[in-house]
Subunit: 337 residues, 2 copies
């Protein structure tokens, strides 16, 4: 295992220390926990607060999405592990401004259990909480069971748009409604070329042959749909784009935002090669690309691989996607066009 | 070799195609070459034009630094290879607005030779050209031979600040003077944990044992100063920060901008671990950190590793560093504080 780190057990805590030293005017700790960060200006008066959370090892997911026009707070677990209920409650209290809290996070078992318990505890203290789970990975379950799908890079669109909606001072039910429209219109598929190593485990999460790739693999190494010989960029982009297009399904005339996400070790050059072909497949399908995001928006440590995400836009979603926002962790908060 | 690509020979050209499809309102081709990109609004009236160039495989270096408040154009070589003189001349003509052109690029032999020839050809056609080479890698040559040092991530500061200076409509000699002050006050040192593979070569640029790292290695795998066992994040940050501090040397009371740059496969979490310790070393030295940049600003394909760069600030350099700029390739154009 080759990692730049100190003690594996200290990995998450020391990362948080580094983040606070680097961005002291952007983030602060939530009172009562070492594993919760909130906007420096939290709580923001008159605004629905949005919290997320999840394991470390996915930067900019999760803590990189806290900021103006984005989320209000984040609870942080160890690498690929759920945050504690206590951290979630502490973050909720630190960001709540009297307008309720939305828990917006990825659909993973441990996170669901802990966020549900935190919601109960907050409700008992008079804080209204709603929950919305992102589940954009189309190959993780069949369409009729879409509610059980896991989250991948589609988290970006949910965070960006729900954050912008909350910034308009919309009420909790309106923020939930908009977030739900994002979740229901976001589809992703990924490919992995190499594993990553969890610091405390010390060995790769899985193995792949020197000439192999796995289509559809999840961001923690969850099994995909096909393991086989490494294919060309065009072939990979063709398969992923088509599968995503067919899932929603996206129809001729639809307008979309496209996200080509790198999982960690894949160079930007290769992401642009994927986009080059995805662009052709999407346009041929009659779908119009309105915004493009390419870079590392959700990673798995040093895993090599990528994903393609499409969000079907409507007028409000596009306007919220374009709204101002800031985080030092994000390469493209403004979609290109 | 595991790369998401089509034909190795097409890697650079297809990357450029993907970039133009993704960011059609940001960049366009320079007339007369497939290997030159310029700002969509080039030439910008009344402004000194700045061109850079170099091999592919280092995104966001080089083409990611073209944009408002940054550079005007870039010539693009194959992976880790110099661009052609023809591309450089075509870019120069496409960006020249009658106020002269600055060639601002990394100090590498092939690039120097080609840019010098391009400058001669432009001068023959009446375009005034000045050249400035970035050479921030402190271990690549001893201090008395600083002029021969190679460039690493310090390119970021040179591009950002020279671009901002040119945007003020300063004349060519003033832009050169400011760029020179950046070059003379920027020091970097890197560490490599794994090699990368050039598509057309098909095998890693070097080998490192499973438990080894190389301090001071260049971004193309140039030899460093010490190969040895992988050390902790704190030890690595201590060695790199101290070496950089001692080189200029930076003195107590100096104000600096800090850049912790990832080479490709190193997760953001590990960069924040490095910053955590670098922060302590720098502050202990009495140097005051005014701005922080952490992320991938200059990469080597999928190489694992990082570098630490310090820029000694003065009032003008800080103001230019903070000036507005835009590129879809850059994680943090606004330094954190």
């Amino acid at each position: 295992m080759k990692k730049i780190m100190n003690h594996p057990e200290a990995f998450a805590d020391e990362t948080i220390e580094g983040v606070l030293l680097a961005h002291p005017n952007h983030l602060k700790r939530a009172a009562g926990t070492l594993r919760g960060l909130v906007r420096k200006d939290a709580p923001v008066a008159g605004k629905v607060a949005i919290a997320t959370g999840g394991g470390s090892g996915h930067l900019p997911v999760f803590l990189g999405y806290v900021g103006p026009g984005l989320l209000d707070g984040v609870s942080i677990g160890n690498v690929f592990s759920s945050p504690s209920v206590e951290a979630m409650v502490a973050v909720s209290k630190a960001i709540h401004a009297g307008k309720g809290v939305l828990y917006l996070y990825g659909n993973y078992g441990g996170d669901v259990m802990n966020f549900d318990m935190a919601a109960e505890m907050c409700e008992a203290e008079g804080i209204e909480v709603k929950s919305m789970r992102v589940r954009d990975d189309v190959v993780s379950a069949a369409k009729p069971s879409a509610e059980t799908r896991r989250a991948v890079a589609g988290l970006f669109f949910a965070y960006k748009i729900a954050g912008a909606k909350a910034a308009t001072r919309a009420d909790l039910s309106a923020v939930v409604t908009t977030a739900q429209r994002v979740v229901e219109n976001t589809c992703s598929m990924g490919v992995a070329l190499s594993p990553c190593t969890i610091p405390a485990v010390g060995k790769p999460t899985f193995t792949l042959g020197e000439d192999e790739m796995e289509l559809g693999m999840g961001i923690h190494g969850e099994a995909g749909i096909e393991r086989g010989k490494l294919r060309t960029a065009d072939e990979i982009a063709q398969v992923m784009s088509q599968r995503v297009l067919d899932d929603l399904p996206f129809r001729s005339g639809d307008e979309v935002a496209v996200l080509v996400n790198g999982l960690g070790a894949t160079p930007p050059e290769e992401l642009y090669l994927l986009f080059r072909k995805a662009h052709a497949v999407i346009e041929k399908h009659g779908v119009r690309i309105q915004r493009v995001f390419i870079g590392e928006f959700a990673t798995s440590m040093e895993m090599a691989g990528a994903s393609i995400t499409l969000l079907k836009l409507d007028k409000e979603l596009l306007s919220l996607l374009d709204a101002p926002a800031y985080s030092p962790f994000l390469p493209q908060l403004r979609g290109s066009r």
